[in-house]
């Protein structure tokens, strides 16, 4: 029996695009030189780096000298926040962010709180949107950085980044946005948006893992996160991961070139999935914003059941997804994002994220819509929270 495998966890990570891998391959043991070396091996590597940097710059609407490669999206986030905080503490110690940031942002802010910084975590509404009014009110004289994620990794809600950046600019406060999930699913132009710093990650856009980018607008003052050699114009040392940089360049190019078509395709699959689940399964709730939402994000809560059990049951029929349940995070609490939009613990535990990608097809969606209802039904039949009432109709 060849089991069907349907991967709908593209927000967790994506496969490397064949064209991306193809461009990476020569850099492992043919053009393997160190870009800092004077000789031809080094110059070849340097040239490949330059080309990749140019591609990323074009993809983001930035200048090449504003593109810095890091070892992950997480590192880019850490660098932006710690770098700005430490370099500008003479100006103030206050940072504004949101309650629904990725842990790369939140735990960095918490660390800074332990070291003399003050952080305001903005609320979001039931759809996951921040309030620009609350943002404006949160600004103090001591505010040196505002960091608001472009799109949320769990519920897909897209924030009004351009407006938020404008507010920051008026007050001369640095503005950073974690665009790890937005990249490839939303149009990003750093100049149009008016942001000062922006993070992306390779493996979320069919690039390799272990590579991120921090866009740093020319003139922004920030400390290094990592100290050492002269790489990345002395700002991010460590021998360059040439193959991954090349992969990042190609992935960024592909993600931008095909953006409109990709958004159309994903939206169509997404809406088919959302509508199909609503039609087939009672007692469900779509998490996130109905329209201000990533084209590839579906996130439902299924009442009365727990997410990990749901994931494992889906896995047994070949469907790979994820959940905000505590059981899947290794922590005791369910996702802070689901809590921030006001879900109760038990509803949050029963969440399922299906995140689509270029590899998914209509048949994948149909397969999910076929497999999911009986699984939910079976788990509900095991649940003490769920009672079948007479006549077969379900109720609480």
């Amino acid at each position: 029996m060849t089991k069907r495998r349907v991967y709908v966890d593209n927000s967790a990570t994506t496969p490397v695009h064949p064209q991306v891998l193809e461009e990476m391959l020569p850099f492992f043991n043919e053009n393997f030189g160190n870009p800092s070396s004077v000789h031809s091996f080094g110059r070849q590597a340097k040239k490949a780096m330059d080309k990749a940097r140019e591609r990323v710059a074009v993809a983001l609407g930035a200048k090449t000298e504003e593109i810095f490669f890091t070892g992950s999206g997480t590192e880019a986030d850490n660098w932006a926040v710690k770098g700005v905080a430490l370099a500008n503490k003479d100006k103030g110690n206050h940072i504004i962010t949101t309650k629904i940031e990725h842990h790369a942002l939140l735990h960095t802010c918490e660390y800074l709180e332990k070291h003399g910084f003050e952080v305001t975590y903005l609320d979001v509404d039931e759809y996951g949107l921040i309030s620009l009014k609350q943002l404006e009110e949160a600004i103090k004289d001591s505010t040196i950085l505002i960091s608001i994620m472009f799109a949320n990794n769990e519920i897909g809600t897209i924030q009004p980044i351009g407006e938020a950046a404008r507010i920051a600019k008026e007050k001369e406060i640095y503005f950073h946005t974690d665009s790890v999930q937005a990249m490839g699913n939303v149009k990003i132009d750093v100049k149009e948006l008016g942001v000062d710093l922006l993070s992306i990650s390779g493996h979320k856009i069919m690039g390799p893992k272990g590579i991120g980018v921090l866009y740093i607008r020319k003139g922004v003052r920030l400390d290094n996160l990592i100290h050492g050699g002269a790489q990345e114009r002395r700002r991010r040392p460590g021998t360059e991961n040439v193959a991954a940089v090349v992969g990042m360049g190609k992935a960024a190019q592909l993600a931008t070139e095909n953006l409109e078509q990709h958004i159309r395709d994903m939206t169509s699959l997404r809406d088919k999935l959302i509508n199909g689940i609503y039609e087939r399964i009672p007692h469900v709730k779509l998490n996130g914003h109905p329209t201000e939402r990533l084209a590839n994000n579906v996130n439902f809560s299924f009442e009365f059941i727990e997410g990990e059990a749901l994931l494992l049951s889906l896995d047994m029929v070949g469907i790979a997804a994820s959940s905000g349940s505590a059981c899947t995070s290794g922590s005791l609490d369910p996702s802070h994002v689901l809590m921030a939009i006001g879900l109760s613990h038990e509803i949050a535990h029963g969440s399922l994220r299906l995140s689509l990608g270029e590899i998914n097809t209509d048949e994948d969606v149909e397969y999910i819509l076929e497999q999911l209802p009986p699984i939910v039904e079976r788990l509900r039949s095991l649940s003490p929270l769920f009672k079948q009432c007479e006549g077969g109709k379900v109720s609480v």
Binding site: F304, I305, E306, G307, E308, A309, L312, M316, S325, A326, C327, G330, L332, P334, S344, H345, E346, H349, S381, L382, S383, P384, L385
Partner: protein, 122 residues
Amino acid sequence: MYNETVMEHFTNPRNVGEIEDADGIGEVGSPQCGDIMKIFLKVEDNIIKDIKFKTFGCASAIASSSIMTDMVKGKTIEEALALTNKDVVDALGGLPKPKVHCSVLAEEAIRSAIEDYKKKMK
């Protein structure tokens, strides 16, 4: 992540359901922590004649409930009370460390059901 025994008990859990006229009912856990186990007992001559469970929780919670109910079925109340979470883990052939609390819940659930039974007996 889980071994075959755990997956087998998760996929085909034994003793699922409720007992209408149960002699003892135990419920432990809470929706907050993501696990609720509810145990229904039928006791005759100090022996657990029948046992059913309903569990809201992850795969290891469901598997722990399943194997625990199997283990105490047909046993005396005392034998059932002697059951520890370690017995549950061992019977399952091991659980990942962060999941051991599910076996604790199973131990607590059977104790709670027996307590309820004893209370009702008085």
